[in-house]
């Protein structure tokens, strides 16, 4: 009797879990599914009432349109394109691919420079005893307390003064300042979790500080390093407000800026804009999925302790 009751309870529990799994998957993936689904349809299907659950006449035409936007847009071929059939493409759509490139370059540069700066600083703060160590740590952390929007005007003036307004370099500098406090904090926590005897032994063997960092600490802190790289890249890839003010032309505009210009445009071509959105989602999601283990262990190391 008890065993059947137990199996019933067990079955009830797994049924319950399956049900919650479905709700969870619907909540987390549903909105993205809708974005992807409507990026695969022609505009006429996208704007059909009522909307259908599965893509109708699915094709990659919208993505093809993104690749083909480099053809010069003239009055003629713009007029020929009919909004109702989904051939209409926003006038600045040709900026999409260059902005994708800008986003990649800026993101990679920020990730690499960030790890170079924050690893050396974190090593110094975590392991070397020196006057003003706490002051250095707090001044690094406190720089993130002021809301970004307060810093825009001075940053604009600063970048103009340095002659890097509307350049990728200016964005890289800004994003470094944005990401470095958090990655330094993560790395300090991780370095401190490594037994300090390793540091002492390596130093006594005559290894230089940079040598200890490179050969002992960076390899041991791999999860935190990968998490920091990811954090820096994703933050730069996703950032919107600074890029909105600090960039003007396609020389430096990143993907979020070009996409937001579609969204805020008068004539929205939903299917095309959704395809652009999918384009912006794919790289970060792939990175997140690939490095899932590192992100979870690296980002949360030390953070949860207190």
């Amino acid at each position: 009797m008890t065993s059947t009751a137990a199996t019933i309870r067990l079955r009830g529990k797994s049924l319950m879990l399956a049900l919650i799994s479905a709700v969870f998957a619907f909540y987390v993936a549903g909105p993205v599914y809708w974005l992807v689904k409507t990026s695969l349809e022609p505009e006429a299907r996208v704007t059909a009432i009522p909307p259908t659950l599965l893509p109708q006449q699915p094709s990659l035409a919208n993505f093809e349109a993104i690749v083909r936007t480099n053809d010069p847009i003239t009055y003629q071929n713009r007029r020929q394109a009919d909004p109702a059939t989904g051939n209409f493409v926003p006038s600045n759509a040709r900026n999409l691919l260059p902005s994708l490139w800008n986003s990649l370059v800026v993101g990679l540069a920020v990730a690499l420079l960030n790890i170079a700066l924050s690893a050396t600083a974190a090593y110094a703060i975590a392991l070397i005893k020196f006057r003003g160590r706490d002051l250095a740590l707090y001044s690094i952390l406190v720089s993130r307390v002021i809301p970004d929007i307060a810093l825009i005007v001075p940053l604009f003036l600063l970048m103009r003064g340095l002659g890097v307004l509307d350049t990728k370099g200016g964005l890289v500098m800004t994003y470094l300042a944005v990401t470095v406090p958090f990655t330094t904090f993560i790395l300090i926590n991780y370095f401190r979790s490594v037994p300090v005897d390793l540091y002492k032994a390596a130093r006594i063997d005559g290894c230089s500080h940079l040598g200890v960092l490179r050969h002992v600490y960076l390899p041991l802190a791999m999860p935190a390093v990968v998490a920091s790289l990811m954090f820096a890249f994703l933050t730069s890839w996703n950032e919107f407000l600074f890029a909105l003010i600090l960039t003007k032309s396609i020389q430096s505009q990143t993907l979020p800026i070009v996409i937001s210009s579609f969204v805020l445009d008068f004539t929205i071509n939903f299917s095309f804009v959704n395809a652009a959105g999918v384009l912006a989602i794919v790289p970060p999601v792939i990175l997140a999925v690939l490095f899932e283990r590192y992100i979870v262990s690296g980002l949360t190391a030390g953070a949860v302790k207190g």
Partner: protein, 317 residues
């Protein structure tokens, strides 16, 4: 400042010398190494963080108006007084409070539910844990675009789904309804912010020793009692972190307001951060704009300090 023998004080603890001697002592080899290692980061932060922070605070004390660039008198805290005296700013403060409370509460509760769920062992758990990262990795601009499209009053799937299920009998205007718009934006914010909090809570849960649950079970505690008396107290540090972090980012949220409503309809979603944007970049009143930004910064600081203080004190008892 000539060469100091490298081994001299590298590992030796300096035993509390007087302040004067401390200041006069030449930096040891290790101290110089530390400064050299820190220098690149500190230089970048000094230029790109410290300078803008100080500059904008200074700006908040001047009457700077780009329409009238030649006369910019120093006005002490008049900008702050003026801004706090305006009704639209007080309403914006109230809206910010509402938005923050909804978003923080929604994020924390959803994240707690998700963490409890993913803490179970079952088939497919790993796939769902990876799926959880998708909202986290989604750029906020795409998040805005996505929800704008879902909420669309003509072709949006929210109307389509709800009317297919028979929950509404006619299509609704979602974002353009002043009574709903703040909640709908909060929903989009929660969707994106929930995963990181859930991961933090999940990691905290995993650190709870299994023995505690066994002991509680022996004592005859049911699921709810185990949650209330074992899980929740052990979760406090993680929960505190989530609450503070979510408050900090919700209170200053900007991107979704820009993309979804631009403060509208009317002023229904004009929160403090949106008013800062309007004051600075539309009215070009840099002085009052900076003052508003610093009001937001002070509120954030005080709130964060209070929360940490309260949470810490309770824990100590």
């Amino acid at each position: 400042m000539t060469l100091v023998s490298p081994s001299a004080s590298s590992e030796r603890e300096v035993v509390a010398p007087g302040r004067l001697r401390f200041a006069l002592r030449a930096p040891s080899h290790d101290e110089r190494s530390a400064l050299i290692l820190l220098a690149p980061l500190l230089i970048v932060l000094a230029v790109v963080a410290a300078f803008p922070i100080l500059y904008s605070f200074a700006t908040s004390l001047f009457d700077v108006n780009l329409v009238r660039p030649m006369r910019q008198p120093f006005v002490w805290f008049d900008n702050y007084v003026q801004m706090l005296g305006e009704t639209r700013i007080r309403i914006a403060l109230w809206r910010t409070a509402v938005f923050t409370v909804i978003t923080v509460a929604g994020t924390t509760l959803t994240a707690l539910a998700v963490a409890l769920f993913l803490n179970e062992t079952f088939r497919g758990r790993r796939i769902l844990a990876i799926l959880l990262l998708v909202p986290w990795a989604t750029p906020s601009v795409v998040n805005g675009l996505m929800w704008k499209w879902i909420y669309d009053s003509n072709y949006g799937v929210l109307n389509g789904l709800l009317s297919a299920l028979g929950l509404i009998d006619h299509y609704k205007i979602w974002l353009a309804d002043p009574d709903k718009t703040l909640y709908l934006i909060a929903n989009a914010a929660i969707w994106k912010q929930m995963p990181l909090s859930a991961i933090l809570l999940l990691v905290t849960m995993k650190s709870i020793p299994e023995d505690l649950y066994k002991a509680a079970r022996v004592d005859g505690a049911n699921v709810l009692q185990r949650f209330l008396h074992v899980t929740l107290p052990a979760l406090r540090p993680g929960l505190m972190l989530v609450l503070v972090y979510e408050t900090m980012i919700s209170i200053r949220h900007f991107d979704l307001f820009m993309l979804l409503t631009q403060g509208g309809p009317g002023n229904a979603s004009a929160t403090l951060s949106w008013q800062i944007y309007v004051e600075t970049f539309r009215s070009l009143h840099f002085g009052t704009g900076s003052a508003l930004a610093y009001i937001l910064a002070f509120i954030t600081l005080i709130l964060g300090a209070l929360m940490i203080r309260l949470g810490w004190r309770r824990e100590a008892r």
